[in-house]
């Protein structure tokens, strides 16, 4: 069964701006799915329509086979949303925020308190339960948004940039939490600007640009499409007369560091041999950017050049 099924979804805002040009998207039950795209590509509009905060212009959406046009209430009950912007009441305590949200889903307060304690403990929020929500740090505010979205135990959790502005340590702990949640059966759709995050967490991916899906596949398949990877080679000594290498295009970026493009069909051992044979000592070799990031940029630039 698909947790999310989007068919020919279109959205044109009242100012005439077309945000979605007829997208198709399927997310399987149990999946950890990344929806990536540059700013203004249509990610938040898509999430807004799924969560019924934005009216669609055309198309169909089903959440666990519940069509949002005909069975909206059932679809909503399956769905948990963590929006990009902080949007809880800043004057309520953190526990009130979550208990009220449970109430809107019809969960009696007694049961809501039990669930709130569980999710607060999992997200290290329990000690902050009586804090006024506006006094929380950015990281705790993000965690509160996740706790609120999970209080009704949704089958599909959609997170719109959940780790934006969060420090590395907290981001990693959120990743662990989300992995655990996914393993326990919750389908997760994630949008993020941290491509390392998508590569680390997600099994399947869609890339949206200018309101169109330009890639929809598994992460493995997508990364397999990366033909060229750029490496940074740190050298032991300064090099002044770098010889041209037809096999590996080399670009000197400083006296003791080189940028080199390695084709998918090439063997990296040959590159090491080249340095050895030229008596160039290599201190370290690292990928210039995250593989997904490199692919993402290439796909977007291809899409833009096709449009022009």
């Amino acid at each position: 069964m698909n947790a999310l099924d989007i068919k020919q979804l279109k959205k044109t805002y009242s100012n005439g701006k077309t945000a979605l040009q007829g997208i198709d998207l399927q997310v399987k039950e149990g999946d950890f799915f990344a929806l990536l795209g540059p700013n203004g590509a249509g990610k938040s509009t898509t999430i807004g329509i799924i969560s019924s905060l934005v009216n669609k212009s055309a198309g169909e959406i089903s959440v666990f086979d519940y069509n949002i046009d005909t069975r909206l209430s059932m679809a909503k009950a399956c769905l948990g949303i963590v929006p990009q912007e902080i949007n809880f009441s800043l004057f309520e305590t953190t526990i009130e925020v979550v208990l009220n949200q449970a109430g809107y889903y019809g969960i009696p307060r007694k049961l809501a308190k039990i669930r709130a304690e569980k999710v607060f403990r999992e997200l290290d929020l329990w000690d902050r339960r009586n804090d006024i929500s506006r006094t929380l740090s950015g990281g705790f505010k993000r965690r509160l948004m996740i706790a609120r979205a999970l209080i009704h135990e949704p089958r599909l959790l959609i997170l719109d940039e959940p780790t934006a502005g969060v420090d590395v340590e907290l981001r990693r702990s959120m990743w662990d939490f989300l992995r655990q949640l996914n393993r326990s059966g919750t389908t997760i759709v994630l949008t993020t600007h941290y491509l390392e995050e998508a590569e680390s967490l997600c099994e399947n991916i869609a890339i949206i640009d200018n309101g169109q899906i330009i890639e929809h596949s598994s992460m493995k398949e997508l990364l397999g499409k990366l033909n060229v990877e750029t490496f940074i080679v740190e050298l032991e000594d300064e090099v002044t007369d770098l010889q041209e290498n037809k096999q590996y295009p080399l670009h000197q970026i400083s006296a003791n560091s080189i940028e080199v493009e390695v084709n998918k069909s090439q063997n990296i051992n040959e590159l090491i041999d080249y340095f050895s044979s030229n008596n160039i000592g290599v201190r370290s070799l690292r990928s210039k950017s995250n593989r997904l990031e490199e692919l993402f940029i290439r796909l977007l630039s291809n899409n833009n050049s096709e449009e022009h």
Binding site: Y13, S14, G48, S51, S52, L53, V54, N55, L72, S73, M74, K76, A77, L79, I81, P83, E85, I86, N87, F88, S89, L90, F91, E92, E96, N100, Q101, A102, G103, Y104, Y105, G106, I107, P108, R109, R148, H152
Partner: protein, 257 residues
């Protein structure tokens, strides 16, 4: 959503609303008590003693029901308009919109919150009034019904205002430029019998006149308006505003892009 879950959602909105206005009681409960006390002191004790009788009643006794009704109208309206607009502005209205709670329950929850605040402030002002005059109640059923219906009506009015409001100015324009003049010209401080015939006819287009007089009838047994006529007008406005508010929520006007 099953009926019991819907009830939980309704209860949650009401608890949230009561918690909100009691948490900020210095802004919501205290000011009307103070300003209404001043009305009683100035218009009732100081000026009223020189005015004499109105509809065969002491002036203080005559204005007391109108002042109570004025506080109920203002507080029912301002509770819903400020709470719903605040929820829109901070974005936490989305908590309800993404949940399977029906729009009619959202509307009912906010209106109930407005009614509860209106009644609470009305009760406080009534207690204040007892320090200045002996209030009698001619018909408890009419008093209670008029108070509840009026606060429902103005809570619905507050909801319409909040849906359309884009900035803080928008939630004060209607109370300042529409509600206050209508209240003051709605027979709170005078009987419309005192007006020239033309202005008496104009006054009949003011819906607040019907509410003030229906309440005064319940309290004192005197009214400028036929009581059945007054109830009909109140119910008609409630029906119109209820349908319109629900339509706005269903369409997501001011809430969805």
């Amino acid at each position: 959503m099953t009926a019991d879950k819907i009830f939980v959602a309704y209860q949650t909105i009401i608890i949230k609303e009561i918690t909100r206005f009691t948490r900020i009681w210095v802004q919501t409960i205290l000011p009307p008590a103070i300003s209404m006390t001043l009305y009683f002191v100035i218009f009732g004790s100081l000026i009223g003693s020189r005015i004499g009788k109105m509809q065969n009643l002491d002036y203080m006794e005559f204005i007391a029901p109108g002042i109570v009704m004025m506080s109920i109208i203002n507080n029912s309206y301002s509770n819903v308009v400020s709470s719903f607009f605040g929820a829109k502005l901070q974005g936490h209205i989305q908590e309800m919109l993404v949940a399977p709670v029906p729009n009619i329950i959202i509307l009912a929850g906010y209106v109930t919150g407005g009614v509860i605040r209106g009644l609470l402030v009305g009760l406080i002002v009534t207690i204040v009034a007892l320090f200045f005059t002996d209030l009698q109640v001619d018909n408890y059923l009419i008093v209670f019904t008029v108070v509840v219906l009026t606060s429902i009506l103005f809570s619905l009015g507050g909801m319409v205002n909040a849906v359309f409001a884009q900035k803080f100015d928008d939630i004060s324009i209607i109370p300042t430029f529409v509600l206050t003049p209508l209240i003051y010209l709605g027979g709170v401080f005078y009987s419309i019998d005192m007006l020239p015939e033309f202005w008496q006819s104009v006054s009949h287009f003011n819906p607040i006149l019907y509410m003030v007089n229906a309440f005064r009838y319940g309290m004192l047994g005197v009214s400028d308006i036929n009581i059945v006529h007054a109830f009909s007008i109140i119910l008609l406005f409630i029906a119109l505003l209820f349908c319109y508010s629900l339509y706005l929520l269903e369409k997501g006007i001011g809430l969805k892009s």
